[in-house]
């Protein structure tokens, strides 16, 4: 027999033997798995963002299959994923929940809130925050190094020219990765139908805020006087919007002397005042 036919024969016989072995092994070592898990995974977006609170999409699918997690927890997947999971599991899902999206509660970018020292360390907000309480003049404000943008699994965040993150709501799925990444807890998930938000998180006294930032909340409470009862409450030295049904914040926003309010529009956040006006 020639070299090539004998090699083919040997390889062929070996292949058959291994195949039989594998067939036997798959019988003997068979593990009963829930066939629904595969189907469930197929319904999920596969971003492994962790917004559902489980270790990736597969972890969530297993939890749903085991009945230990509700089928409507996948935020990036939205109603489509929730309906899909519900159908597989035979559970009724309410898809009329109000969608939420990420917003940034700070607009103290370069030119509005300065630096208190030249920072030469790692380009990560969490690392910068460890050095002397952070290089930003405001101890509550955005550090501008883009840790949220790097954390976003959907590329929905880019750093603006003033080094404040800009969130693209077409891409944002409200998974919350940025919320967890920000060392100063400046990002928050708000219902998509709100009209305004307070873009400041400073708990400093007015004198400190005025020294550090041109668009910081000074706790003057003029907004409270210009909003319906209970629509804005005091949270330390910061105003907090409570968003009661159908509340109109436009008057409060207009009266804010520090221009802390920003108007929320369909396309994204529109600054109430142009940056030029603010710097004057």
């Amino acid at each position: 027999m020639g070299l090539i036919p004998s090699a083919l024969l040997i390889m062929g016989v070996m292949g058959i033997l291994f195949g039989i072995g594998l067939a036997i092994a798959s019988r003997y070592f068979h593990i009963e798995s829930d066939s629904r898990v595969e189907q469930l995974i197929a319904c999920l977006p596969g971003a492994n963002c962790g917004a559902c609170g489980h270790a990736g999409c597969e972890g969530y699918a297993q939890a749903v299959a085991a009945g230990s997690a509700a089928p409507d927890l996948c935020i990036p997947g939205g109603p489509k994923a929730a309906l899909g999971l519900g159908r597989i599991m035979g559970i009724e899902v309410d898809v009329n929940k109000q969608p939420v999206r990420a917003v940034v509660h700070c607009q103290g970018g370069t030119g509005r809130c300065g630096q208190r020292f030249a920072y030469h360390g790692l380009a990560d907000c969490r690392a910068a925050n460890l050095v002397q309480g952070g290089p930003k003049r405001c101890e509550y404000g955005c550090l501008g190094l883009g840790t949220c943008a790097a954390a976003c699994p959907f590329d929905a965040i880019v750093m603006g020219a003033d080094l404040i993150p800009v969130i693209d709501w077409d891409k944002c799925t409200a998974c919350g990765a940025c919320v967890r990444a920000c060392p100063r807890a400046l990002i928050d998930l708000l219902p998509a139908n709100v009209s305004h938000l307070l873009a400041c998180s400073s708990q400093d006294k007015a004198s400190v805020v005025r020294e550090s930032c041109s668009v910081g909340c000074i706790a003057c409470w003029i907004c409270i006087k210009n909003a319906p009862e209970g629509a804005i409450v005091k949270k330390g030295n910061l105003a907090q919007l409570t968003y009661p049904q159908g509340c109109d914040y436009s008057r409060a926003a207009e009266k804010c002397p520090m221009h802390c309010f920003v108007k929320v529009e369909a396309a994204g956040i529109a600054l109430m005042h142009s940056p030029q006006a603010l710097s004057q």
Binding site: H120, R126, V131
Partner: protein, 439 residues
């Protein structure tokens, strides 16, 4: 000379101040006494605004065992009880601000500043006096000294090591203390020995300070319990682990092992001096030796300053140059860069450095040269820790024993890619801590 593995030899730049005697700095017009100048729970202020206080009077009560009291360092009036920026954390911490009353002579509080014959003191009495005086580790770590003097019963101490290495470049205040106060330091050391019921002490002094070695050897005299040892001049010779290894050959175990585990207590020479003042003179810790130096000051020097003195004033009197770019509290390797000079001297401030060099944030990828591995005195692999933190892989950082790192900075000093390894380690540890807090 025996030594430890690893370490680096930075240019020590001590010559500008090594020959300058300690000078009593003028009393500040105002002192800012932080309630958190030690490791452990911050003290609680026990004085109110407007209250008159005497030098040495208790103004901050310790909260718990691992804590330390704070005393007024001047005679005057409490101007405010508020918050002030800490040179350690950079954030605001509770503080008592005292305006010195320049119209009256300095008066010590009752029961303080009373030189005592000391022979009759029992170990517990010594420990209590040191605790009440607010003595903490003055090499910079500021761990309350009385805790180190009360080892658990199953870990007997057979050796006290006095740290006179002063291995950080630029700093010379311990050197001057050893030259000028050698007898007092020795007396303090004898108190420490008695408090620990210990019969052996080693004083480690780097070989670049032969005059201090002479002075301390002379001060020891015929006392057979105490030996002065020359150490190789190598950073970080003054680290606890390195001192113990060099002087006794023992190795402090990993995973949170303390010198106590190998029968050793290490104290700084400045701490021994503070213990002397606390026990023999009944003086609370209200002043310390400090070196003001660096290329950014015209007149560097060694000073005895009151705790709480504004650092800006010390720098101004040393002639701060306009081209000074960076201010560091402590030495250049383990000290902490400050964002402002509007901070007070604390119990742990051994040096003020004003540097003029430009610093660049540029760093490159790890080139796998392994110099950091050779330099690391703790036997770690800094390159791998640095890479693990860079990709925010906490498990990998933990596998490379990030927690064993004492942040001495040898790795960053030798890294040819200029990687900020110490910052990465601090970041990694902080991330690990916050992950642990969430879990």
């Amino acid at each position: 000379m025996r030594s430890f593995k690893g370490g680096v030899h930075p240019d020590d730049r001590k010559q500008r101040t090594a020959g300058l005697a300690l000078v009593e700095a003028p009393l500040p017009a105002r002192v800012i006494l932080l309630m958190s100048q030690h490791i452990g729970a911050p003290a609680r202020p026990v004085v109110a605004q407007g209250e008159r206080v005497l030098t040495g009077q208790l103004i901050g009560e310790p909260q718990g065992y691992i804590s330390a009291p704070v005393h007024s360092s001047v005679t005057g009036v409490v101007a405010a009880v508020e918050t002030w920026t800490s040179p350690v954390s950079g954030t605001r911490v509770p503080a008592v601000i005292i305006e010195r009353d320049a119209s009256v002579r300095e008066r010590w509080a009752e029961g303080t500043d009373l030189p005592q014959p000391d022979d009759a003191l029992a170990p517990e009495q010594i420990r209590d006096l040191i605790q009440a005086a607010g003595v903490v580790g003055m090499g910079g770590a500021t761990f309350p000294t009385h805790v180190k003097l009360a080892p658990p019963a199953d870990q007997p101490i057979d050796t006290v090591i006095l740290n006179g290495a002063e291995c950080e470049p630029y700093l010379t205040c311990d050197h001057r203390l050893m030259l000028e106060r050698s007898a007092d330091i020795l007396q303090g050391l004898r108190f420490l020995l008695r408090a620990l019921n210990c019969e052996r002490a080693l004083i480690g002094i780097e070989s670049n300070k032969p005059d201090a070695f002479e002075a301390m050897s002379r001060a020891v005299g015929p006392d057979r319990r105490i030996r002065v040892e020359r150490l190789p001049a190598k950073y970080p010779q003054g680290g606890e682990h390195q001192l113990i290894k060099t002087l006794t050959g023992r190795e402090v175990p990993w995973r949170g092992g303390l010198p106590m585990a190998v029968g050793v207590v290490v104290q700084n020479v400045a701490t021994a001096f503070a213990a002397y003042e606390a026990v023999a003179l009944r003086r609370p810790l209200i002043r310390r030796a400090l070196t003001v130096t660096g290329e950014g000051v015209e007149r560097p020097g060694n000073y005895l300053v009151r705790i709480g003195a504004p650092i800006a004033e010390l720098l101004a009197s040393a002639g701060l140059r306009p081209d000074a770019k960076k201010l560091i509290c402590g030495g250049p390797l383990m000290g902490i860069a400050q964002r402002s000079a509007d901070i007070p001297v604390t119990k742990g401030t051994g040096g003020l450095l004003a540097l003029t060099e430009d610093f660049s944030a540029e760093f490159g990828p790890c080139i796998r040269c392994g110099r950091c591995v050779n330099a690391c005195p703790y036997g770690l692999t800094p390159a791998e820790i640095s890479r693990a933190v860079e990709r925010v892989n906490l498990d990998a950082a933990s596998d490379w024993n990030i927690q064993e790192c004492k942040e001495c900075g040898c790795c960053a000093y030798v890294c040819p890619a200029k990687r900020p390894i110490v910052h990465q380690v601090k970041f990694g540890k902080a991330q690990e801590k916050s992950a642990g807090a969430k879990a």
